[in-house]
């Protein structure tokens, strides 16, 4: 089945997410769709799947114009989408999730789960997906959950399969397996749209590439004739290098030392299982691992948001295990939280207010019992200049800024003072390349000034690029350590450790 998008435009308020897009999707072919975060890839595919209605433009299937009122129409027309954020009901089984919306039924609307299981097994066997139809989604690792999403699409006999950033949650080994599945789908005659912002992936899997920037198609081509450099330029609009410039580290005394740290999760299993490590001044330690293996909990215990069940945290030679968040802050710990919208900033507050969230109580910002607003605003304006936060005014609500500028605002607030330790969790998630480069530079600069830097990221490339030492977390434990200063390290070895393979 061939699909064509013609002149698709979609606005969200002032944001033009898609601007006159033309695109061809062909059966038996993998179309790679490349673009930075915020380029409009998901929006475009949500339009194609019927979730959003375009403002203008047409969708043509086999040359005939179609109009989708809701995703049900898209499904009926043979278009299936695996969303960037999985659309699975965690408390349902695999089979229940797969059949939802197209359930086999008996008399009295009876849900025929027996037939459903059999059908799921059949598809499983045909494409080698190996998923247990009776497993509860919430008990499955993300890699398997993704296969359930693919099962869903296949169960609806979709001819066009849209995969929105499918590799973001996978380990390198899982990515290889996943590519095998994608190829077998293509060879079965499906049209595949593969969305990503990772250059090497798009070159490996695509038969044809389209590049999207600021809602427009900025380049198209044959992967055989394209290089990562040319693709990067099409994607970002200027030449970029994805390596981080940094000098060799000069590690000093231990700045953070964590010993025997344990924490329980809601099910009384170990969220942190006897974690031991140190971060020295003047070095970057990166924590790699698939999401949900204790990284979030580790950062929360180090920064004081959660009390550990046992163990000790020493910061700058003091025992801070029971110290409050503010005390740690005052001692020079900076925290860039993993979800800036939830715990890094207050969207309805202005940029100026957000800039002093961690220091508004300081005498410098007080005028008697009041806050010295002119002082706060002047400081915030200065921070914006120092950290390249692009905002028309510091009086604007922070929620109006783009993701990259929001994150730079958080980084400015945390780093514009005397710091000794920087704890950065997913510091560049969902940002554009310019902001990513900038934040990486700042983190390395903090290291060079003698701070200890701890970075947690699920992007292995980021960890490999920034870290002087890499720790791998799996099921709440540190399972491997790699020293990047002693020559290049094996990406596969890190990937295996992330997947829990014991070395």
């Amino acid at each position: 089945m061939d699909v064509e998008l013609r002149g698709i435009t979609k606005r969200f308020g002032p944001v033009v997410a898609n601007d006159g897009i033309n695109l061809q999707i062909r059966a038996g072919e993998v179309l790679g769709l490349l673009g930075e975060n915020g380029a409009g890839k998901s929006t475009m595919m949500n339009i194609l799947s019927g979730l959003y209605a375009p403002d203008t433009g047409d969708i043509l299937i086999n040359g005939k114009k179609v109009v989708f009122e809701d995703p049900g129409d898209g499904i009926a027309a043979g278009i299936g989408m695996v969303h960037q954020h999985f659309m699975l009901v965690p408390v349902f089984t695999v089979a229940e999730n797969v059949i939802l919306g197209v359930e086999p039924t008996g008399r009295f609307d009876y849900l025929d789960l027996k037939t459903a299981r059999k059908q799921v097994r059949d598809i499983n066997d045909r494409y080698g997906l190996e998923v247990d139809p009776d497993a509860l989604i919430e008990t499955l690792p993300v890699g398997i959950q993704q296969r359930v999403e693919i099962l869903k699409v296949l169960f609806r006999s979709a001819d066009v399969i849209i995969l929105d950033e499918p590799t973001a949650v996978l380990t390198p080994q899982e990515v290889e397996d996943f590519f095998d599945i994608v190829r077998s789908l293509r060879d079965a005659g499906k049209a595949i749209v593969f969305i990503t912002h990772k250059l090497h992936e798009i070159l490996e899997i695509s038969d044809r590439i389209s590049v999207l920037r600021h809602g427009r198609i900025t380049g198209e081509g044959d992967p055989a004739k394209l290089t990562t450099e040319t693709l990067a330029e099409m994607m970002v609009g200027r030449p970029v290098s994805f390596t981080v410039d940094k000098s060799p580290p000069h590690p000093g005394r231990p700045m953070l030392s964590v010993s025997d740290l344990c924490l329980f999760d809601a099910h009384d299993d170990f969220a942190l299982d006897h974690v031991n490590f140190e971060v020295h001044s003047g070095e970057v330690v990166g924590i790699a691992g698939v999401q949900g293996n204790g990284q979030t909990e580790l950062v929360e215990t180090i920064t004081g948001l959660t009390r550990p069940a046992s163990g000790m945290i020493r910061f700058d030679d003091e025992n801070v295990t029971r110290a409050s968040v503010r005390d740690r802050h005052r001692m020079g710990m900076a925290h860039i939280p993993e979800d800036r919208l939830r715990s890094g900033m207050i969207s309805n507050f202005t940029v100026a207010e957000n800039m002093v969230l961690n220091s508004y109580y300081a005498p410098a910002y007080s005028k008697g019992p009041e806050i010295d607003w002119p002082k706060v605003q002047a400081t915030a304006a200065q921070y914006c200049v120092d950290f390249d936060v692009r905002t028309p005014s510091v009086f604007l609500p922070a929620g109006n800024l783009s993701g990259g500028n929001q994150q730079k605002m958080v980084v400015a607030r945390e780093l514009e003072r005397e710091t000794k330790l920087v704890v950065a969790s997913q510091p560049t998630r969902g940002l554009d390349v310019g902001s990513i480069e900038y934040i990486h530079e700042r983190l390395i600069a903090a290291r060079d000034e003698g701070d200890g830097v701890l970075i947690v990221s699920s992007e292995l490339d980021e960890i490999m690029g920034l870290s002087d030492r890499i720790l791998v977390m799996f099921e709440g434990r540190i399972v491997a350590e790699f020293d990047t200063t002693k020559g290049p390290i094996d990406r596969n070895a890190v990937g295996l450790a992330m997947a829990g393979a014991s070395s």
Binding site: F12, S49, L51, Y52, D70, P71, G72, D73, I75, A76, M81, H83, M87, L88, V89, P90, V91, F92, E96, N97, L100, G101, V102, E103, T105, F108, D109, Y110, L111, K152, D260, C262, F264, A266, H267, D268, D269, F270, D273, H274, A309, S310, G311, E475, G476
Partner: protein
């Protein structure tokens, strides 16, 4: 991963998990109950407690159950003490919920034996009353289940019950019992539809919308009952659905009268619970409804209409509540009084939570509350030293203990209370 009460770390310190602490608290509670049973119910009891299990006229008469009060309560206390001590021992964690449930059951038995010591008490009558009093709570809870399974929090159940009671009385007086019942269901459904419109279409805060409906219904029905019903008494004089016995089943000793010698509302509640359970967990539309409550975006991407699903289920919930409301008038006294539901709708919500958002669970929880309610009423007859005002509090105390303390990590539908915004 390991999961147990205590785990020794490499450095030798002991870790404390939440469950271990819970187990110890439970142990302390059980020991306290043991003391109560031993030193109050045990020492104070003399003579035999006689429980009547059937009436002399029943076709299958069962002999009375006669229990020596003192010894029984000493044994009960000993069992409680044993259960309590075990919570502190290795591996007590596994027994926490079971011990607690058992402990509370033993406490109730010991209390009954103590209160009945030297007297006679009809167990059958109390079970029958339990069922009757559980009906509005169970139907309120069921209405809550239907709404919250599609992620709409329905605080307005109280108002819907009251509206059902009022309509039942008014229309019942004019058109007879069946007409009143139908009207109550329709009015309940109408309020459900209004709630759905407010929270689904207009995205009004669900709690506020519910409170508004409650206050509106309370104000309107109170006004009409004090201004109109007092003048025109024939408008507030509806026929009552009488109890009828189901042949054979109604003659089963002890539970027969409880389940099969009741009026339309009891049978209706049982049937509705059965149908809802089948619907929610065994049908296609039930699966879709639950998906809308757990993950509306996912449901939407699969072509399920989230808004329509919510409208339908909240309206159905309102109809169930309207039916439950009619119990107060058409199922019991035939007359409407100001605020006669007296918070049963809220207790129904507690039953829904206690019952883990499952129709059968809600019914079971409603029976617990109904039991506390009827116990209070019957104990007044036994003339216990406890003032009846305190006994009247017991259903509410039971609610607080049960909901706050012991349901643990009952998970509501993931999207519960959140409006769904497309795009």
């Amino acid at each position: 991963m390991i999961s147990s009460q205590t785990q020794s770390t490499q450095s030798g310190t002991t870790l404390d998990s939440g469950k271990a602490r819970q187990a110890r608290i439970t142990g302390a509670i059980l020991l306290a109950l043991a003391c109560l049973v031993l030193f109050v119910f045990g020492m104070d009891a003399s003579g035999d407690a006689t429980f009547r299990l059937s009436r002399p006229t029943d076709p299958w008469a069962v002999p009375n159950l006669v229990v020596p009060a003192g010894p029984f309560n000493y044994i009960a206390g000993a069992i409680l003490a044993f259960l309590g001590v075990r919570q502190f021992l290795q591996g007590g964690v596994r027994w926490t919920s079971l011990s607690l449930g058992l402990g509370l059951a033993i406490l109730v038995m010991a209390f009954l034996v103590w209160a009945t010591a030297g007297k006679a008490f009809s167990l059958t009558g109390m079970l029958q009353a339990t069922m009757v009093r559980a009906v509005p709570i169970a139907l309120g809870g069921l209405a809550g289940v239907l709404c919250e399974r599609v992620a709409v929090v329905n605080i307005a159940i109280e108002g819907m019950l009251l509206a059902g009671a009022f309509t039942g009385a008014l229309i019942g007086s004019l058109l007879g019992g069946w007409g009143g019942l139908a009207a109550a269901v329709v009015v309940g459904g109408a309020f459900g539809f209004i709630l759905a419109a407010l929270v689904v279409t207009y995205r009004m805060d669900q709690i506020i919308a519910g409170v508004v409906i409650n206050l509106f219904v309370l104000g309107l029905t109170s006004y009409v009952s004090s201004q109109v019903f007092s003048e025109y008494r024939h408008l507030n004089n509806a026929p009552v659905f009488r109890a009828f016995k189901i042949p054979l089943l109604g003659d089963i000793p002890v539970i027969g009268p409880m389940l099969f010698k009741q009026n339309l509302f009891v049978y209706g509640a049982l049937i509705l619970v059965a149908i809802s359970t089948y619907y929610l967990f065994f049908t296609r539309n039930g699966l879709r409804a639950r998906a809308v409550g757990e993950h509306p975006e996912a449901a939407d991407t699969l072509g399920i209409n989230v808004y329509r699903t919510r409208y339908i289920h909240v309206t159905l919930g309102g109809m169930v509540a309207g039916f439950g409301g009619a119990w107060f008038t058409l199922g019991s006294v035939g007359r409407f009084d100001e605020n006669m539901t007296g918070g049963r709708g809220f207790i129904g919500l507690a039953a829904m939570i206690f019952g883990r958002w499952h129709p059968v669970g809600a019914l079971a929880a409603a029976l617990v509350f109904g039991f506390a309610d009827s116990l209070q009423q019957k104990l007044a007859l036994l003339r216990t030293p406890i003032p009846s005002e305190f006994l009247a509090m017991s259903p509410y105390i039971a609610t607080i203990i049960v909901v706050a303390g012991f349901i643990g990590k009952a998970q509501p539908p993931a999207a519960d209370g959140k409006p769904y915004v497309k795009e």
